[in-house]
């Protein structure tokens, strides 16, 4: 919760005003029963109708004042909550945007999503309601107690004696209930996951006729959810009747003690009447405090989760090293890296590329091909060895400057719910001709021009309204659009037929000759003309050279090549 304080700070003035206004409103609420008892005890015996009307008018006045102040204060509270949440969410999103890939892997994407959405909602709710109830309920409670003390201290003591009991009750119930709600949340997550899996795997499930099995699987998670919801609900539902009971017992005690005191002339009957009214107020205040208690514990859990992300130390610091002149655009110098810091995923990789050269990488599934590009872009830092661009160690290049050198398509890259044009431009405000040229080279114009609205055609999230090959071509166009110094294509032509693939390669050669290119592919035909080809196996280099050289020197490469192209190209 402490972490939230700086966000509330700019609004402290407003909050204070809001609280003062709220305070006034609550006093008005407390004045009403006071006047009531005054009318009955002191005004009525005077038998003065005018006075009755006057005090009645005062009551109405108080009621109006309470209405106005409360509405104004509530709105101020909402305003503060709105602005606080906006800046918390902004900062959180900004922080997440700049987390390193390693940190994102550690938090996992669904967890970050939940922190940005449900956790910030909880905080929004909490800030708003705390200001509204947080003042009102304690004031009503305290005020109620003070007024009753002034009215008659003995009766008030009866009331005060109840408070510790109520506190103990609230404490124990929430202590038991809150962890139950946390378990429940996990069970709900499991249920949602099962539904998601069924929706995405419907073809497999139907093909294997596993419908009945899935029903059973859902029945299990469903009953788990129901079990915990019942358990938590039953525990929490003890609070209300118990509180009502305690307070009503107190009320009875007030009547009994009151009777005794009236009998000895220590107080008047009207006071008992007022007391009963205050009791209702105090009862309601106590109920609000209980609700706040639950809300607060839930809210502070969310605040903790948000603070954890905000306080993540910055990863991938920039170093200060002077560049050394180098004829090479890209240099890998004996690079090693491991995701889990156990077994190396990439081991002792060494190569150099000049401006305009193309490197092809080929190798078995899981051999570390994509990891190499992630290291080149400094999405992760190498464990040992160094990577240079134009003689400058990449760790010394500011992230923004570094990334602007690249055009890249990842394996399973994403398209966003936006127009095709925006998906290619991607917020870079590139000139129109450049986008058109990129789309043409990527062989995407062919189908874009067939669309009724062309570039303005809207894609669904993740581009589900395009075929695999169409998606890849738009992604390649995105990578090309800014005329990058270095182009990375990670398995980005797997869904293209050979003809389109070869047209693409020719266009790349003709239009982006200055660009240094790294292509990862499974098809030898995609790499055939590369200046250098790197053959990888289990994170290590097992061959490096041109197609012809490798046919001679690398057995694995020869096998791959022959299996794909037969003997035609020797």
């Amino acid at each position: 919760m402490k972490r939230l304080y700086p966000y509330l700070k700019p609004y402290l003035g407003r909050m204070t005003w809001g609280l003062i206004i709220k305070f006034t409103g609550s006093i008005m609420d407390l004045l009403l029963p006071w006047i009531l008892s005054y009318i009955i005890d002191d005004v009525v015996p005077l038998r003065d109708v005018k006075m009755v009307l006057f005090w009645g008018g005062m009551m109405i006045l108080c009621a109006v004042a309470a209405l106005v102040t409360n509405v104004v204060a509530n709105r101020m509270a909402s305003w503060v909550a709105q602005h606080t949440t906006e800046s918390i969410r902004h900062d959180l999103f900004e922080k997440i945007s700049y987390l390193s890939c390693k940190q994102i892997d550690e938090y996992t994407i669904p967890s970050l999503e939940a922190r940005l959405t449900s956790d910030t909602y909880n905080i929004h709710n909490l800030i708003g309601r705390m200001q509204r109830l947080g003042v009102r309920a304690p004031i009503l409670l305290l005020g109620g107690i003070i007024v009753t003390l002034l009215l008659d201290w003995a009766l008030a003591l009866v009331l005060i004696a109840l408070l510790p009991l109520l506190g103990i009750l609230v404490y124990f119930v929430s202590k038991k209930g809150v962890p139950m709600y946390m378990t429940l949340q996990q069970k709900v997550d499991a249920m949602v996951r099962t539904v998601r899996e069924n929706a995405s795997g419907i073809r497999v499930i139907k093909a294997l006729s596993k419908g009945e099995y899935e029903k059973d699987r859902f029945r299990q998670v469903n009953s788990q959810v129901v079990y915990w919801e019942k358990k938590a609900g039953v525990t929490m539902s003890l609070t209300n009747p118990m509180m009502n009971l305690l307070l009503n017992f107190g009320l009875t005690a007030v009547v009994a003690v009151g009777a005794w005191r009236v009998n000895y002339g220590l107080m008047q009957t009207g006071a008992i009447l007022a007391f009963l009214t205050y009791f209702t107020i105090i009862l309601n205040a106590m109920l609000s405090i209980t609700r706040m208690f639950v809300m607060f514990s839930r809210g502070s859990a969310s605040a903790q989760r948000i603070a954890q992300v905000l306080d993540t130390p910055q990863d991938l610091m920039q170093t200060h090293e002077a560049p050394q002149p180098s004829p090479y655009r890209v240099e890998f110098d004996h690079v090693c890296f491991s995701y889990q810091k156990k077994e190396d995923n990439v081991q002792d990789i060494h190569f150099r590329l000049k401006k305009g050269e193309t490197l092809g990488i080929i190798g078995a599934t899981g051999s570390g091909k994509s990891t190499l590009t992630a290291l080149l872009m400094r999405l992760y830092d190498a464990d040992s060895g160094r990577i240079f661009i134009d003689g400058q160690p990449i760790a010394s290049i500011p992230q923004g400057e570094l990334h602007q050198k690249f055009g890249v398509t990842f394996q399973n890259d994403v398209l966003f719910a936006d127009t095709i044009y925006e998906n290619i431009d991607f917020g870079r405000h590139l000139p129109k001709e450049q986008i058109r040229k990129a789309a043409e080279c990527a062989q995407a114009m062919e189908f874009i021009s067939e669309l009724e609205d062309g570039f303005e055609h809207r894609l669904t999230s993740r581009g589900t309204n395009l075929s695999g090959g169409q998606k890849q071509r738009i992604l390649i166009a995105r990578a090309l659009a800014a005329n990058p110094e270095i182009l990375i294509l990670d398995d980005s032509s797997s869904a293209l037929d050979y003809r389109t693939d070869s047209l693409l390669r020719r266009a790349l050669r003709e239009n982006y000759g200055e660009t240094t290119t790294v292509i990862i592919a499974q098809r030898v035909s995609s790499l055939l003309h590369a200046d250098h080809i790197l053959v990888m196996e289990e994170g290590r280099e097992i061959g490096y050279g041109t197609h012809e050289q490798l046919l001679e020197s690398c057995e694995t490469y020869r096998e791959i090549s022959q299996s794909q192209m037969g003997g035609d190209v020797q």
């Binding site: 005090w55 469903n222 118990m242 009998n263 589900t464 037929d497």
Partner: protein, 589 residues
């Protein structure tokens, strides 16, 4: 290609929705009746409380020394008793209601899910997963919240209002006139608020939903955004949506937070008016002090629920909307049932023929025009062609995920509609381009299609799929739980796991739809070899872009614009010099 989205659903009749909700309730009629009885009783008991305290205060009188203690204590004792019984009853009641509502929720969720497994594939192709999830979780929760609280609230309110009114009329019919002022005020106010606030709340949920969608999309695409250094741009776009969301929240709050103070105001107004008129009535000797005090307590009970109704009505409306969404899913037509004379097919030979098949996901856009093909038992049939030509569609038809608009598909000479879906589908082992793994152990994922598979079976399949070594390097081997995120499992490795799953099946035919697109060619060939030994003499359908994958096929079908333009083996097609030869040669250009 995905079929187009279905039209937005039409609103259902609200009465029908309520009726169906009623049906869920009526299955637990005993509990519902018990709950109602308990509600009535505990509220009546609570209503008696103020009457008793009034009597006690009357017994106190207003003169020192004049207190009738035995009467006071008598009534105090009764109060204790009534309050205790009322508290116990209300606890039992809430426990009962939790059980009741959870029973209904359980049933409803299970109904939705069970129906989900029976829906045709088309439904999933045209509806977003997020939407289905939100129906089964959020919408049902909304219905639940409303069922468990609002129903009782209405019952309680009705009883409290009715009971209080009766008690107040008994005490002082004249004072009741005060409500002639306050009740119309509250009705007017309630109507105003419902009208004003509902669209605001709807907008608030919508904006929050949009923000959620944006966040999900952007965080998933983090790597890409980083690579293009577009963090600033995305933060800018996020800020716009964030602002819209908090503004909508504020506007809803702006009016919504008026309700509390206003309810309070109307209560206070009643109190003020009652004090004035009550005092006057007392002056003229029409009412006793004790009665006045009871009246005040009743009046407080009375005004509350009337204003609460405003909230309940709007909550009920959102519950109705949610229930509507749930029922609409339950009402979605399931896969057409098997024909009555449909037979189980066993001992499949594996001869598949398609004759004049025509099909389109959307009747106005035909994808497959006139498809004819024959696959002999034990042959390897490859389907090639440009993207969007309808290759995956053929698989959809073979598996009966969709039925053709016209033409016939036969398995071993029998029209596939004459075969039960279950036995038809089980005669194929299928591996798709989109890998599907679920949250469970590696073992469970591989053994998914085969009941009672042993660890040896699974390991053998994993070895054949060349994924055994990878699995052994996982922290818990075959017991490792597969998690979508946070695991560095590559796309190719996922494909190998699903291939291992297919290898375990006893199917007589095999479908591979780009099953190895992210696997290196050497592994792919080893897998194919393993598969072919396993599937000796069984019919295989293979879709692949990599022509090396399919060179050995017995028949290669070249599909273009939903028609087979060429057919033959690799050598024949190469000699022909047509589309296939062009495609093939282009890889060396």
């Amino acid at each position: 290609m995905k079929p187009p989205r279905t039209m937005p659903d039409k609103p259902q009749d609200r009465k029908r929705v309520l009726l169906r909700l009623g049906q869920y309730l009526s299955r637990h009629l005993g509990m519902v009746i018990t709950a109602l009885v308990l509600t009535v009783t505990s509220n009546l008991l609570a209503l008696i409380g103020p009457a008793l305290s009034g009597k006690a205060i009357d017994a106190i009188g207003s003169e020192p020394g004049g207190v009738d203690f035995s009467t006071v204590f008598y009534y105090c004792g009764l109060m204790l008793l009534f309050y205790a019984v009322s508290a116990i009853l209300s606890y039992i009641l809430s426990v009962l209601m939790i059980h009741l509502s959870q029973k209904i929720v359980y049933q409803m969720r299970q109904d939705v899910f069970d129906h989900l497994t029976e829906l045709p594939v088309r439904y999933f192709d045209s509806h977003q997963t997020g939407d289905i999830v939100s129906r089964i979780s959020y919408d049902i929760d909304t219905v639940n919240a409303s069922l468990s609280t609002d129903l009782l609230q209405i019952a309680t309110s009705a009883i409290t209002v009715g009971g209080s009114l009766v008690m107040m009329i008994l005490i002082s019919p004249e004072l009741v006139l005060v409500f002639a002022v306050t009740i119309p005020t509250s009705i007017f106010f309630t109507r105003y608020m419902v009208k004003k606030v509902r669209p605001l709340f709807r907008k608030r949920s919508m904006k929050l939903g949009e923000l959620n969608g944006f966040v999900e999309e952007i965080i998933t695409g983090q790597k890409t955004i980083k690579a293009y250094h577009q963090e600033e741009t995305m933060i800018g776009r996020f800020d716009v949506r964030n602002k819209e969301a908090v503004d909508a929240y504020y506007m809803a709050d702006y009016y919504g937070s008026m309700t509390g103070p206003s309810v309070n105001f109307i209560n206070n107004l009643s109190l003020a008016l009652i004090s004035m008129f009550g005092a006057m009535l007392f002056l003229f000797g029409h009412i006793s002090l004790g009665n006045l005090s009871s009246f005040v307590l009743y009046s407080r009970k009375f005004s509350g629920p009337i204003n609460e109704m405003a909230n309940i009505i709007s909550e009920l409306q959102s519950a109705c909307a949610a229930a509507e969404r749930v029922f609409r899913l339950i009402d979605e037509p399931p896969e057409t049932p098997d024909l009555p004379k449909a037979q189980e097919i066993s001992h499949v030979q594996g001869r598949v023929d398609l004759a004049h098949v025509k099909f389109g996901y959307d009747p106005s856009r035909v994808i497959i025009h006139d498809l004819n093909l024959i696959a002999k038992p034990g042959s390897l049939v490859a389907i090639v062609g440009p993207t969007g030509a309808g290759k995956t569609t053929i698989i959809n038809l073979l598996m009966r995920f969709y039925d053709p608009d016209s033409g016939q598909i036969r398995l071993d000479g029998r029209e596939i509609r004459q075969i039960t879906r279950k036995s038809l589908r089980l005669s194929y082992a299928m591996v798709l381009q989109d890998t599907w793994l679920f949250h469970g152990s590696v073992f469970d994922n591989i053994a998914y299609g085969k009941k009672g598979a042993t660890l040896e079976d699974v390991i053998a399949a994993a070895k054949a799929a060349h994924i055994h070594r990878y699995v052994m390097r996982l922290p818990n081997g075959y017991d490792t739980i597969l998690n979508e995120d946070g695991m560095n499992i590559s796309q190719g490795q996922k494909q190998l796991l699903t291939i291992a799953r297919a290898m375990l099946l006893d199917a007589r035919m095999l479908i591979l739809d780009e099953a190895t697109s992210n696997v290196d060619t050497r592994t792919e060939q080893q897998i194919q070899a393993a598969m072919r030994t396993l599937m000796e003499g069984k019919t295989c359908f293979v879709i692949a872009h990599r022509l090396s994958t399919i060179q050995n096929a017995d028949t290669i079908l070249v599909v273009q614009n939903g028609e087979i333009v060429e057919q033959g083996n690799h050598e024949e097609l190469m000699r022909r010099g047509g589309v296939y030869a062009n495609l093939y040669r282009s890889q060396f250009q």
